[in-house]
């Protein structure tokens, strides 16, 4: 059970949150002009690093805020700058 620091509510147990996958995947500006390959990359392809990973979490049972945190996928350490 990870302890996740919600920017609004403070530290809460992982089961109050929903995982949102890789962070920083922006919706293409003009989807219509994207090639099939570009579009498929946006929809289907995500990084899966062994190590630090920027990912999105949603505080579903709390303040309902989406936020980004950096987690180490091996140690589960959460980046604390």
């Amino acid at each position: 059970m990870l302890l996740i620091d919600c920017p609004h509510c403070g530290p809460r147990d992982e089961n109050e949150f929903r995982y949102g996958g890789q962070a920083g995947i922006a919706y293409p500006e003009t989807p219509a002009s994207a090639t099939d390959a570009e579009w498929a990359e946006y929809v289907f392809l995500r990084d899966n690093p062994k190590g630090w990973f920027d990912e999105r979490w949603f505080h579903v049972h709390g303040c309902r805020t989406w936020f980004t945190l950096r987690r180490h996928t091996v140690t589960h350490e959460i980046w604390n700058p």
Binding site: M1, L3, E16, A34, H61, R64
Partner: protein, 1060 residues
Amino acid sequence: MTRLDKGGLVDRSVVLSFSFDGRRMEGHPGDTLASALLANGVRVVGHSVELGRPRGIFSAGPEEPNALVRVGADPMLAATTVELYEGLEAWSLRGKGRVDLDATDDRRCDKGYLHCDVLVVGGGPAGLAAALSAGVAGARVILVDDQPRLGGDLLNSRVRLDGSRALDWVALVRARLASMPDVRVLTRTTAIGYYDHNYVVAVERRPRGERLWHLRTAQVVLATGAQERSLAFPGNDRPGVMLASAARTYVNRYGVRPGRRAVVFACADSGYEAARDLRAAGVEIAAVIDPRPQAPAEALAGQVVTGTVADADGLLTEVLVGDRRFEADLLAVAGGWNPVVHLFSQSQGRTVFDEEAQAFVPGASAQAERSAGACRGRYGTAEAIQDGYAAGCQAARPAGKRQGGGFRVPETDELPLRPPAAVWLVEPQSTDAPDVFADLHRDVTVADLARAAGTGMRSVEHVKRYTTAGTGADQGKTSGAVVAGVMSALLGAAPGQVGTTTFRPPYTPVSFATLAGRDRGALSDPVRTTAPHASHVARGAVFEDVGQWKRPRYFPLGGETMEQAVLRECRAARTGVAAMDASTLGKIDVRGAGAGEFLDRIYTNMYSTLRVGSCRYGVMCTADGMVFDDGTTTRLADDHYLMTTTTGNAAAVLDWLEEWRQTEWPGLEVSFTSVTDHWATVAVVGPKAREIIGLIAPGAEELAFMTYAATKVLGVDGRVFRISFSGELAYEVNVPWWYGRSLWETVLDLGAVPYGTETMHVLRAEKGFAMVGQETDGTVTPQDLGMSWLVSKRKPDFVGKRSHARPDTARDGRKRLVGLLADDPAAFVAEGAQLVGPTGPMLGHVTSSYVSAALGRSFSLAMVRGVAVGDRLSAVSGESAVPVTVVEPVFYDPGNTRRDGDPAVRAVAGRAAGCRKESPAAAFAGRFEAAGSERVRLREVPFVRMWEVRGADPGVGLRLGPDWWLVTGDTEERPGWVDVSGQRTVLELTGPGALDVLITGCPIDLHPAVFPGHAQTLLGKAAVLLERFSEPEGEGGYRIYVRSSFATYLAEWLLDALEG
């Protein structure tokens, strides 16, 4: 009897009677089952799992590999960990436990959540010192220990501190800990798991049932001590062979002689301590065998035990040392110590082999933890206390308000310890020597390990899986180091190179009942109910689970089967008037200047152009273009919409909207508020529906198709939508939750026939309306469902649009929605049946299948590729193949002629009686009252007015999140506030015991110094808003705001919690 006349920590003035294998025996408070069995002369407690060899008591703690027993409903417990109680009934086992399905389990298990700055695991000298120094520094401390009383190994030994009994020092520390309000001591509590981010799970044994503690802490001090180990020598499994520290524990702590005449095998100095204490208790010491070349005069130096001899029952009679034989009924083995590094290892710390201690000790930490005392090889009592003080001070430093330190370490009478002998294996001297065991629990011998090594295995992980060593209920606590030592001897490598297997939770076995706690039976999963639920129950509805909701599936009359009831309900909806409780549909209030634009981007069709007062059906897709959800959305005002979702997707859709708003389109001014529970919804359906609507909401009966009116319904502010999912004239009538039951009963009193979800499915399927989750499965586009008309060509973009042009989604030959009719109208095609043509592969599958009253036959919907109307297929399911023909998927009234109902039925004069008001937990008032006590009281605060407010701070109410407030009470409603009075109800918990109730289900830190006054979190399995209040003076308590549909679940959960 082998009980000593005096000494130890048992209370001889009280006799507890118990039974073992049906024999009546007696013991005393303070005994374990193991010590009581020894006191009653029981030598053989069970038989081993594979070989059926007689086995006795080997240890005095949780590391026990042999003495496994069944106690009541518990199929397998170590007798060394069972506290004796009056009437205990225990049975011996042959190795493996067996669940007695008839045994009654009346245990009442529970859980609890606690938070602290410093968690200390272990209440021995190091742990006590750590808890004291951390507590003195001002940290919030929790100390857990698995024994009934604090002291750790000091309970078992005769060591003196500052010239007094060690337990006097323990009593002093215990008193100081008890005087500190922020120090909590949990005895009989075993920490079983150490997880990420300093999350430790512990089991507290209580007479009425265990409590599973979830502990979250900033810092951990592990003071888990050390366990003695044996070594591998021939005949090392006989009853009478016991760890030296255990023999010492039985005489010192329990006043029980584990034998008459003993040989001590002292590979480590603890053997001498055992010999001294056994001798003091009247046990004759036949010999002390010390493999080390330098040894005290009493020992045979440089010798090892080479074998044992047993009598016909398998009991130890002689110990062999080379050519010498010693008559003995006890062989006390001091093989050295294994620091208890299980929790450290679970925390992902790496252990290292300490050559001097000949043991695996903690290396680098992976989390905010430190080990102190014997669990890191500091075995001496004074040394452990000193180590504990230092660890507690360090651990408290981040949280500490005061600087600790200056603790005096008492003087001990212990002698300095010499390094143990590096002996792991004594090879048999002859081929007929008895087996040499490495793991007593799993009956794994050195020969088995040699076979593993012989096959080329080098990793202990492989050896473990091949031989099963270390996989018993004891998880190899006594055998792990022995296996590593023997393998190192067999492979010619150092034990440190061989290493240990991974330590995994739980440290000791845990029953499923403990893990389940109170989440059993009706509380195992929250049940959501609608406002009219009690009416459905009273009417004999058969329910269906839709997500967590209980929905009536059908309403049988008399002895009707489901099929008969559904045919009758369908007929009523198609020819008269029928009603369904549609309250479970998700309802989302969408507001803001950007609301229309937002909906245009989310739905495949247009909403910004929808006229105010009109409803429109829409489909939303995920980014891959697949259908995600559907429903109607109504424009209530220019910048105000009400979206409906499917029952199952309500939460997912709300999350989805929030995700796009927050992460992609933060510039759009729009907000979303769930009003699913605020509104109770009754669908009134059928050609004669107009009459009922005219009576309950005069004027609304003349609404045009796909329009809405905000109007009085039974005298209260409600909403009526003219929406149909059946092709018939239909209305969805909404009133706030409080009036939902009354609305439902009134509609039925006026003649509507109640129908459930099964009839709803038939009616929509007859019209060919696809159902999300039935026809769709995440691989279906709107176009696949024949809904191209619903996909805007004008909009530049919407979520999923670009994916509809991907080669795979745009290609011909995808599965599409079709209708199917079996050749035989009475034949029923199973949902899920595979569809095949005369030749060739599978073409699709049946998604919906029903018997239709209107059609007088069966019919089906299916997703099939490459077929045209008129094609003939086989629907194959199991052994049956039903011939079917492909038809258009609209079976009933394809011209939509029935939409406006029976023109002859008009509104009649009159008006139904007013509406009764009922709060979501009204039915619990009596039980709440009865469950109250001095310590804690529970009540519902009904009919609290509430609004959710977005955007600017209203200056009143509770802040729920960024730009989000809940305003309650007697306040003037302001423009833009969303009335959610029916969405939640308030349960109020007051009294000094309120906090103790909440910690059994609320995972956040409720300590007054930390809790901010209110928070949205979880309680049990329900999402709640928790608010602490301090009025009236000195009393105070908590208000629990819970969704109305979860009120029944949470009320039951709280009542259960109040039982304690």
